[in-house]
């Protein structure tokens, strides 16, 4: 009986079917499956399968995004159950992301947020045109391991420096790591403003985030290529 339900959860994620994922999550609660078990043995194997397909070159970014969305819908059902049972899901890290002040571009940032959240990170997306103080507050409130800063314009990317300054001012750096991204951002810029890393694309950002948190919840950074 449980195997069938796990299969439905896995398949919903592989198909990128958010409605089916939500239904499978509700069914698992009705069947009395502990939510943590449903996540780890039902939904996550689906994500892993999609990830393997992507790595093999058989699946593409839209497949990843659909799977991620299905996964998120399932988590939205299961997480309140976890909370009610006072069970804390192990997360790879906590990330606060947003597009810096004066910049309203969000597509790239949303993509990174979605992929991070389905790679085991807890993601708090502050949206666009976010003031430095707001990043500081959110990083404190959510005990962030990483703050991710997006900017699409050369005229706004200086806002990334301002956020790093504000985090430093607030005495949060270290331990809070900062990753930056966006079309005008380069490795040289990331270095200049004292960011801990940057990536040219969303998949690279996930790898970077994993490296910044040391491959686990905490610990020393594991070196490795960005992609």
């Amino acid at each position: 009986m449980t195997e069938t339900e796990f299969q439905a959860m896995r398949q919903a994620v592989v198909d990128g079917d958010a409605d089916a994922a939500e239904a499978a999550a509700r069914a698992s609660i009705a069947a009395g499956i502990p939510p943590l078990v449903a996540i780890d043995e039902g939904f996550m194997p689906g994500m892993k399968e999609v990830g393997a397909g992507f790595a093999a070159g058989d699946l593409f970014l839209p497949d990843m995004m659909l799977a991620a969305r299905a996964m998120q819908r399932a988590l939205a059902v299961l997480e309140p159950e976890l909370k009610a049972a006072s069970v804390e899901r192990t997360v790879a890290g906590r990330v606060v992301i947003g597009t810096v002040a004066g910049d309203i571009h969000e597509i790239g940032k949303n993509l990174v947020g979605m992929l991070l959240s389905t790679s085991g990170f807890e993601v708090h997306d502050l949206g666009v045109n976010v003031a430095p103080e707001r990043f500081v507050e959110a990083a404190r409130e959510h005990r962030a391991d990483i703050v991710g800063l997006s900017a699409l314009l050369t005229t706004t990317m200086t806002g990334q420096r301002a956020v790093i300054a504000a985090l430093t001012e607030a005495g949060m750096r270290p331990p809070v790591k900062v990753m930056v991204g966006g079309a005008p951002v380069t490795g040289a810029w990331a270095e200049e403003i004292g960011a801990d890393g940057y990536s040219e694309d969303a998949m690279g950002a996930v790898e970077l985030a994993k490296r910044l948190v040391g491959g686990g919840a905490t610990g020393a950074g594991a070196e490795g290529p960005a992609r």
Partner: protein, 502 residues
Amino acid sequence: MSAVNPAAIGGIRVEALDAEAIARIHDATLHVIETVGVRFPSERALATWEAAGATVDRAAEVVRVPRAMIEAALKTAPPEYPLAARDPALDLSLDGRHVYAATDGCGIEVADLQTGERRPSGIADVAEIARLADALDEVSFHWIPVSAQDRPAVSRSLHELLACWANSTKHVQTESIVSAREARAAIEMAAAIAGGRQALRVRPVLSMMQCTTSPLGHDGGSLDAAFEAAEAGIPVGFMTMASAAFTGPATLAGTLVVGNAEVISALALMQLAFPGCPVYYAAAQTAIDLRSGAYTGGGPEDFLFGAATNQLADFYRVPLSMGAFATGAKAPDWQAGVENALSSFLASAVGSDMLLGLGLLNGSRIWSHEQLLLDAEIFSIVRGMLRGIPVDDESLALDAIAEVGPAGDYLTAPHTRRHMRELWRPRFMDRRPMGVVEAEGGGPRAWANAKARELLATHEPERLEPALAGELAGIVHAVEREAGVEPAPTVVDVAAPAGIGR
């Protein structure tokens, strides 16, 4: 000496869409504008739409426009107008019979000519690139090639504009003016060059390009800047960069519809506000890289977009500024050659009026002087192809054929000497014998590098009159003071009195 030599359209015709396909895309576009709507996050835009009677959702800033209103508004757009230059001999006529190529924009890094190292772009790069492009007759006008990241954000676009005017007598089209304040200052600068507001209307030495925000949206600051341009009679265009499978549907027709809705709704808006103002269609659609989601700048889809879009612009009887030469290559290499040759050829063969843009690598991020010269060579090939094959008594060469007869050769025929200089000659293609190549080394990229150095050492465009230069710098500084920013030296402030910007 500064010169422009555009491609004359006529010898070759390419069609990506037939009349029925164009009609269906147009119809679908009007359906989208009327039912889904387009986002216009600008008070001035929303008020203009309301006054015209469109359905405006203030909360969402989304406008839904009856198809008849769009069609009627587009009819007042002029089909032809000039892009003027500081030197009137370099004025361009957007007459549908020429393809004028421009530099690309707006990069953020420069591959150093001496070391090859990448570094962030600054105002000195804008000035140097403008001067180099001024020396090439394949470049008819300028875009802002790279971002002047060493100048204040509030006045950066104006520093860039002044750097182009100070280093070239050709027309400048900006893609980096994205607020009403910057636009007003730029227009004031343009009027000073043209000799007043009225003269500027007749000979606009400046045109502006604004990007849409795909899918189906616009940027508020860009819209407000566009209104300023339209009001002053400065040609203004809207560029869609809808990307198939990301900011547009995965199908090419679907992405054409989304981009078309963005562009024509904005052009209609400008016509509603200022009927008869010069506007143009602009586009640089692409298909994303399916693994990273990134802009690609190459591939059959991009080239087809280049071929299809001028047919849409022609349908609306407005000029087109088409993105080409947008290679994703990281260096001037095989990929850059393939992508830039195909994109520029297809966009030119359909008669795009303005063709962007030479010189950038890595999806319009890294400027390369070498690439500029190699792209210019590609454009010269395209220009040669567009001439086509004239067939008349002289070109059929019957006298020469009779004179040489079977088994002779045409090397010494008088007909050959009359016509041989019409044949295309390369500057950078390597046609040397293999043994010479092995002995001497070098090749296209090395030659382009050497040519860029030579032109930068020798080419001296006509500079701005010192009084005019001072007036333009004063306008830039006024914007800075008004914003409470320390005035940053402009290129004319830092130049030697003789105006040598090297």
